[in-house]
Structures are given as C-alpha cells and as structure tokens.
C-alpha cells in the first residue's frame, strides 16, 4: 500500500505541471491585457507600458512561466495583480471557505442521497419508490444557480429561517454564527450530487438484489433488513464510492456558481474575478490549488476502494 501511495503522489507532480502549463498558455492566448484591466479605460499608453514592464508582462511567455514556477517551488506564489495582495494568502483564505462549503455539501449529498436510494430500492415499485425517484429527478435537473435563488426567496425571505447571503453575519462572528449561513448554500450545492447518488444507489442495489448470493442469504432465513444491510448495501458501495469521488470535481465546479449566488467568500468567486481581470498569478494559484484538491480526491477514492472491497488491493 505504501509504495502505491508514494507512486501516486509522485505522479501528481507531472499532472499538476501539465495543468499549470495549459492554464498559463490559455490565459496568455486569450486576448485582454491585465494592465488595461487594472488601470481601467482611462489609462494612458505610457502608464500601461510601465505597468506591463513592472508586472513582467513584456517578457516572453516561457520566461514568465518559469519565473512563476520557480516562485511556486520556493513558496512565493506572486502577488495578485488586481487584489494587490499575496496570492498564497488569498488562495488559502478562500480555499478554506470553499472546503467548508464543499464538505458540508458532500456530507448532505452522501447522507441524503444514499439514504433515499436505499429506501427507494428496498421499496421498489411502490408509490414511495416512485415519489423518491421524482424527488431525485427534480434535484438532479435544477441548475444550482436557480435552485439557490429559489431557496433564498423561500427559506431566507418568506420564512426567514436562514440568512440569505454571506458566510458570517455583518460585523463578524464565530463558527456557531456560520452554521445558519451554511445551510442554504450547502443544500443548493448538494442537490445535484445527492440526486445522482440516490439514483445510482437505487440502481446498483436493485442489481445486487437479483444476484445469487442474496437469494442464498434469504434462503438461509436472514431477515430482510440484514440482507439489505450486509449483503446488498455492502456490495453496492463500490460504484457509489466511485461516483462520490468523481463528484468532488463537480462540487468544486458547482461551488463557483453557488458561491456567487450566496456571496460565499470562497475560491469560486475569487477565480471568476481573477479570470475576468486577467489576473495571471491569481488564476494560476487558484488552478494549482483546485487541481491539487481534485487529484488528491481521486487518490482518496482509490484508497477507499480497499476499505470497501477486500478484493481490491494495491501491491
């Protein structure tokens, strides 16, 4: 297991390098000039030229890339062009907010999705099953952007149960103050994944229900609950874990939209602004962190297989 982990971690390096090269190139190939964005439409040509030089934008692209890479390795991720602050501190601060939101969303999605799917599978064909399918279909089809606004209006404005924006109340607060702020954005982000997991769980469990070992278990006289829990659910877990792992990428992507709607100060809002402002160092920093998180999540998924399925092992 350990050599496998080391190998996987080593493979991360070229993956991340590849990602950073692609992002760097695509940013530099897109038209638009960070100096122009910073100085605005009222900038003069000489101030634009001076700023380009100051930011090193007058250098060839490969020189700029290598300079950036050297910085990253030595812990200097550069300074955000637009926000005039250290990229590393900006990215780290925002990533924590996104982690909180994503973790809460995943918890809700896995908890609610798997429960709904299992419930549905064990009552296949009944009215309850069909209602559960309908719920998951709706959850899956609603774009997070729209769902977010609906939740804001219904639970924030009409019912007044939850605050509609921000991570903390104005003027600051601690973790306890954050919880009510977390509910609506986390549910919004969880809806799509939860629905997918519900459908996935239902389908795989139905599959397993029809297999020989389940018939054997029932023939042994096991009560239905034990059959479902020990023989069906356990065997259905593998594909579910795969899907959860894949959805981590979706969560990070979906966070961009959800953060925007709820003014959640995460990495999504940071990334959108950075891209629009052609803030090269910041976009690079955000990408690096998100890509690392994604690659890391995949690794965790692979490791989870071992725990779920004794047949899988990494020598």
């Amino acid at each position: 297991m350990l050599p496998y982990l080391v190998r996987r971690l080593l493979v991360m390096v070229p993956t991340l390098l590849g990602v950073s090269v692609v992002v760097f190139l695509s940013l530099h190939l897109t038209p638009g000039d960070p100096a122009q964005v910073i100085l605005g439409p009222k900038a003069t040509a000489s101030s634009l030229a001076a700023l380009r030089q100051e930011l090193g934008l007058d250098q060839p692209v490969h020189v700029q890339y290598l300079r950036w890479l050297r910085g990253v390795v030595t812990g200097d991720w550069g300074r955000s062009i637009q926000l005039k602050a250290s990229v590393l501190s900006l990215v780290w601060q925002r990533f924590q907010a996104t982690l909180v939101l994503s973790a809460a969303a995943l918890l809700i999605a896995v908890g609610a999705g798997v429960a709904l799917g299992a419930f549905s599978a064990s009552r296949a064909g009944t009215l309850a099953d069909r209602a559960a399918i309908a719920v998951s279909l709706v959850g899956y089809s609603l774009p997070p952007f729209f769902l977010g606004i609906v939740l804001q209006v219904v639970f924030g404005l009409r019912l007044g149960w939850f605050p509609v924006t921000g991570m903390l109340p104005p003027g600051g607060g601690g973790f306890r103050d954050m919880l009510p702020h977390l509910v609506l954005p986390a549910v919004t982000l969880a809806a799509g994944i939860g629905a997918l997991l519900a459908r996935m769980t239902r389908a795989t469990m139905m599959d397993v229900f029809g297999q020989d070992h389940v018939r054997t278990a029932r023939a042994k006289g096991l009560v239905e609950r034990a059959v479902t829990a020990r023989h069906v659910f356990r065997n259905a877990l593998l594909p579910i874990v795969t899907v959860v792992g894949l959805q981590i990428g979706y969560v990070l992507g979906g966070a961009v939209l959800v953060e925007q709607v709820f003014s959640w100060p995460g990495i999504g809002t940071l990334a959108v602004n950075a891209i629009l402002a052609r803030d090269f160092p910041l976009v690079q920093g955000v990408t690096l962190v998100v890509a690392t998180a994604y690659v890391f999540a995949n690794l965790v998924t692979d490791v989870a297989y071992v725990l779920v399925d004794p047949r899988v092992s990494y020598a």
Partner: protein, 531 residues
Amino acid sequence: MVRRAVRPRAGAPLVLALAAALSVGTALAQPGSRVVVGLQAEPVTLDVAQLSDYNSSRAAMEMYEGLVRFAHGSTDIEPGLAESWDVSDDGLVYTFHLRPGVTFHDGTPVNAEAVKFSFERQIDPEHPYHDTGEFPYAEFTLGVIDAIEVVDDLTVRITLKETFAPFLANMAMHAAALVSPTAVMRYGRDFGEHPVGAGPYRFVSWQRGVEVILEANPDYWRGAPQVERLIFRPIIEDQARLAALEAGEIDLAVNLPPDDLPRLRQDPRFTFAEQPGMHTWYVVFNVTKEPFDDPRVRQAVAHAIDRDAIVQAILGGTGETAVNFLPPVVWSYTDDVATYPYDPERARQLLAEAGYPNGFSVEFWVPESGSGMQQSVAMGTVIQDFLARVGIDVTIQQFEWGTYLDRVIVPFEQADSVPAMFEMSWIGDNGDPDNFLYILLSGDQFPPYGFNLGYYDNDEVDDLLRRARTITDPDERLPLYQEAQRLIMADLPVLPVDHETQIVVHSSSIRGFVPHPTGVFRFENVEVVGR
C-alpha cells in the same frame, strides 16, 4: 439636481434629516448605530490613490478627504482640508492654505509635507514610495502639475505645466485625496490594506470577499458623524442583493434588478434616493470609415433608433434619454442643439441623400458587460433591429470587456481595425465639461492620448475646446462649451443614447442619505432612526 422620492408620510423624516444636517459638528455618534452597504463586487484596494472602480471607491472614500471636495449632491467645489486658496493671474500657480490642527487617523498632522507626499508618490517615478502601488488616475488627475513647494507648514504652492481650468475640480477627485505619509512609509505596498486618511470614518478591518468595516472618526474636523459603523459587503448577484436588502441583512444597495423597483417603491420599509448620473451611454461612429464619414449617414442612424423605447423597455426607466452628448448635470449643458427624434422616414431620406437608398451592411461591436455599459447586449440587439427597419444590415460582434477595451482603444494609425460602429460609455470624473467634450471628442485626444475613439476631428470644435480649458473664468468658458455642443450635435460623431440614473434603495430607518453624482456614498450627514 437631487431628486428624492418622498412618500406622503415622509414629511417628518425630512425635517429630521434637516435637523441632522444642522446638528453635525456638535452631535456624537449614536452608539451601536450602523449601516450595512451591499456592494456589487468586492473592493480590490482601499488605497485612495489606487482606486479605479466603484466598489472600492464606495468602501474607501469616507476615510479620506482632499484639499477641496465636491459639495453634497453636486460637483460644486467647497473647501476641504484647505480652508482657502489663491490662484495667480495667469492661472498657473495655486497656493493652498491648510486648516490648522487637523490630523490623519493615526495622529500624523495634515500639513504641506503630507500634500507633497500624497501627490508626488503618484506622479514622480523617483519618489521613494512611488513603488507602493499602481496609480490609475495619477496622470489624469495630477499630470498637469509641474512642481509642489512647501511654503510653510500649512501652505503649499502648486505650479502647473500649463493653464488648466478644471484643475480645482481635479483636486476634489479621489486621487487628489491626502494619505498619511507615516502610514504609507510603515505599510508600503500594503497601505491599501491599512488605509489611513483624514476623512469622517476610519479603518477598522477588512476581510477580503467578506466585508470592510469602518468606524466614525471622533476627531473629524467637521464633527464626528452620527452613524457609528459602516459595513460594506460584496453581494455579486443583483437578485441576491435584493433578497439581502429585503431580509434586512443589508441596509442600502444600488443596481437592483429594474423589474423589482416598482414593487420596492410601494414598500414603506424602503426609501429611494435618486440622482441623474454624470454618465453617457453612446454609440461611437468610426468617422474614418465609409459610410460614417458622411454626417448624413450618422444622422440617419440617429433618426432610425427609438431611444425613448430603449430607455423605457430595456432600462426600465433607470436612465434618461439623451438629448445632448453632455449629461444635464454637468455645467454648461444646453438642450439648444440639433435633436434626432425617432423618425424612420427621415432616416431613409437621409440615407438616400447620402447615396445609400438601399441601406448598407455594417459591423457593430458590443461588450458583454462593463463599467457604465448598462444592458449592453440587449441595447445593441434593439439597435440592430431598429436599423434593419431602414435597410441597414447590422452584424453584432460580442466581446468580453477586457478584450473589448483592448480592441476599441487603438491609435489612429490602426483606425481601420476599429469597426464602423461600437458601444461605449463614459462616467464623469470631476463635473467639468472638459472631462467629457475635450477628452472624448477633441482631435488632440485620439488614443493613446485620450478617448476620442471614433477619431472625430473638427478644427472649429478643437479650437473652442482648447481655448475653454485654458480660461479659468467659468463665465468666459460657458459660451465656448455651448457652441462646441451645438457643433458636435450637428455633426453627430457619436450617438448619445441615455444618461444612467443612480438609484440607491435603502432602509427607511436611514435618514439624510443623498447620492452623489460621482457615485461615491457619503454618510457624514446620515443617521439611523427607530432601530
């Protein structure tokens, strides 16, 4: 110039607001009172010399003051940290006399050295603190300064490179506000995160992406403001900002969805504060290109477009149809100019006279969004439709804002790469007509020197505008600007469509809020009641 929507019940509040305005200077801040402002995006810096967007300006400006400032609700100039000033007869030398005993929030005295430091930091590349930021408005605001001399502790003499009539107006702009030299020396490039000025509010904290918190400056020379705390929160989505306002999470917001405004107007919990904007949204004609080198074609386009309909249907009345290129809030404005009412028949006739009886095809560039661009895409699409009705076949090309600016602000030598027609907008900086007419339409101001983006070049107009900016007496400048406006609107190198109205919606518990034409928010006369 300021219209406030006052509901029948609002008589008493108005009196209260007046009382509040009168009592400033003696009153203390109301303990615990606060106003939470919903911004459209997060501020990027709080260094006044580096501001270039509304959101940063709104969060920062209450911390600063300059030698002079714009009066409440207008661009009239009134004394600020300078209590008086003299101007030499040739208009080249300005001597400012500073108010004694005023300090920055960190205790540093506001003196002649601080003035010199604040300005030279921006315009002198050799200044030891020049590398503490990028100063987008330095050249524009202070570029005309030749020398700054400290005469004595409270007297500073500024000599200009050439006579420049709007100089005093520039001194009221944000880039001319004073910063504490001690704080800049201490924080360097991070001054924007530790801002220190001499304004009515002082800095408390800034959590990026979350909020900026300011508190009343008890030592403000005009007297401490009433509201104890100001909190600025970015809420990017218009719909979410609306929800936050209705839920009471914020107290004041701009740019709410136009469709919801009529409903909010009926809601007694909210008060509207409106201000005709120092803004023009316009279509630029590249006059170096056929067919727009012919004024008749430009006039035909103007007659073909129903601009009132655009303002009503697309902007939901959040703008005022433009009669003239200059907005009505800028002095010297006249409506005694050629006008172009919606008249497709007249448009066809003009096209025929110009030799295009069957119309023509043209490319029209439109940004997806952008500062001051309002509903750029929808407005462009409607213009396309109107023009189709008189036989002009318009192809729209859409760009992202940064790219767009890159492509349309190009030197005369590359005029051919600029399309025949494109959208633009301008937000005034200092309330001076020079800031619209000279910069946007004089032959001296082709990019990269200025923003005459369609390369309009009329010697008569140029002469008027050049003379007007070197005369300091407003009475003498007035006829020159009015004549220039008449010539411009007859030639029509640009088609002004509307002037955006600034609509601020705030909780009715806030009294005394008046929007400012420059778009920044002032809270020094504001108070919070019944909360």
